[in-house]
Symmetry: C2
């Protein structure tokens, strides 16, 4: 029996946010692994705001996904056949396995080997994966919170933002979340235990932000840029640190958008802004996952998932993130974890 | 005989850059020092780009100079009468003595006690004073240069910029200066030994900057903000550090000016921007002056001065800085150093 692989390929470059029509789903037979190769079945696929950058032809922090190729993505997967000495059938992995049902690997695209069985596989794409690690390193290594400080986070109900708020809380900080709409601000307060949550869609947004940040913002973890950040920068405390993790609110950088100049904000408050990419921390992923896993097990670090079903939901899934439709870390489930079987004869 | 004090007072707040008409020169008798006080005669007065901020009523890093009071300024001065146990007649001091010929002090406005006689008093307002220390801490502590890195500086012919370039050179860096006009770029190359100097007034500015920074900017020491910085930010190397020391090119922050958004520049290059004020480093001034003094004596650190004569030149002197008319650290000389005499009967 030949396995058939469903693959989501990039067929055109978006002008800004990737849309459904920039992708096509194709079917191709899966090759059996050759010497030094193994085959994984993807159980969950990641959907990232950063994918906008990955498909852009504009100079960026990674080479653009080539037109016609499988969309670059994290997969949480299980090895179903192996001719590689370090990877055995049944191993659970997170890797750059792409938006497809199966992936052949030589091991160089593996990001992390999953140990233990206490958490479902999906969380290794979320709170114990790129979202949690992005929060962990950006907050703890770049911003370096001190107990008693005020930490403001944008997209606070999302995968990264909710983890930032909770890790800041664990670090002894006062936490303020910004999210869009009453449903998300309620989740921030109730599920993620932010001390305050502010709706950026409210006409009173700037006034409410000013009231919540009356004593100044020590750390602003920025996932949005745009007018949310402009409002935050007016309330920095002396010595504030701003982590630039994402620019979700900016639809396009071509032409390059303008905004209020930041130089004087930073100068007057001796504040700093730091661009940050989690991929610079690969060597410390194990440390982060170990600590994050402990906080998840103890209940100190909660997470929500937004699980789309079937690979057909992939093409529109990035645009959906930018429409703000998810209430948690967005992943795509391709199959149930317990239905993954070794490849017969593999 | 009653000594008469000439004082430059702030009589109105400028809209942006302080102009001649915002100040008035008045004459008042000098009081003799009471118990715990001493009297200094100012030999040199400082003229700072930052004075724009000091006289602004807009929230800032220091309280605004009150209307009607003597303009806040550094003075390099000599004690001419003392009833203070720690300050003796003949002591040479740098302090917040204001734009006036004489100042009464209780010691709390003293910034630095000048040791040794190998340098003229004026340099303690410049390369061995606030300009040199601003360069020293901003470059060495905030940006932390490594040998072989490329350091770009704006206002490179000025007091801070020229010191930044030369300290970066001492640290083993390649140095690129930005200055206005061929006279200043020639000084950058010839006097201050920048590896390259670029004229921001040239129509080819952006092209020349791109060529000089082809391998990327590791450190940008920003004294200007505005379009010079916008051009620099397009050429950051991965891990670049930007020191925000001044915003000389921005005439007014009311209304707040816009410019190209920086978030994506910082994110893609994992770069950081740091607001910086030298006054946060008071506890380490002695260290800085000691090292700067050694570099001046060895010839590794050169400086130029732009010396205005008489207190009457003070009211227009800040505007002149922003007109770019000085070719070096601007100070005002009130008298010759060797004509300062102890107050008879003081």
């Amino acid at each position: 029996m030949t396995l058939m692989n469903q693959q989501v390929r990039l067929i055109s470059r978006p002008d800004g946010i990737p849309q459904r029509e920039n992708f096509a789903i194709e079917t191709a037979p899966v090759a059996a692994p050759g010497p030094g190769e193994f085959l994984v079945r993807n159980v969950y696929l990641g959907v990232e705001p950063a994918m906008r950058g990955w498909v852009s032809a504009v100079t960026n922090y990674s080479d653009p996904v080539p037109l016609g190729s499988v969309m670059r993505a994290f997969g949480a997967a299980q090895v179903i056949a192996s001719r590689h000495p370090d990877f055995a059938v049944g191993d659970r992995l997170v890797g750059w396995f792409g938006w497809q049902s199966y992936a052949l690997s030589r091991g160089d695209d593996v990001v992390h080997r999953i140990r233990g069985r206490e958490h479902p596989l999906s969380v290794y794409l979320g709170v114990l994966g790129v979202s949690g690690m992005t929060a962990y390193f950006g907050l703890l290594d770049v911003a370096r919170p001190k107990p008693g400080e005020t930490v403001l986070v944008s997209t606070a109900a999302g995968g990264v933002g909710s983890a930032v708020g909770q890790i800041a809380r664990i670090a002894g900080c006062r936490t303020i979340g910004i999210a869009g709409g009453p449903a998300k601000t309620a989740i921030c307060r109730d599920a993620f235990r932010f001390d305050a949550a502010i709706d950026y869609k409210s006409p009173a947004f700037e006034k409410e932000l000013a009231a919540a940040c009356a004593s100044g913002i020590d750390i602003y973890y920025d996932n949005t840029a745009g007018r949310i950040s402009d409002a935050a920068l007016a309330h920095l405390a002396v010595g504030a640190r701003i982590v630039i993790c994402g620019t979700a609110s900016v639809a396009s950088w071509d032409p390059w958008p303008s905004g209020p100049r930041v130089e004087r904000r930073l100068l007057v408050k001796r504040a700093s802004m730091h661009g940050f990419l989690v991929t610079d921390y690969v060597a410390r992923y194990e440390e982060a996952i170990r600590r994050l896993s402990g906080w998840v097990s103890s209940g100190e670090l909660r997470y929500r998932e937004d699980i789309l079903e079937r690979i057909e939901s992939a093409p529109d899934s990035i645009a959906g993130l930018y429409r703000g439709e998810n209430l948690g870390r967005r992943v795509i489930r391709l199959c149930a974890e317990d239905e993954v079987r070794p490849l017969s004869g593999g």
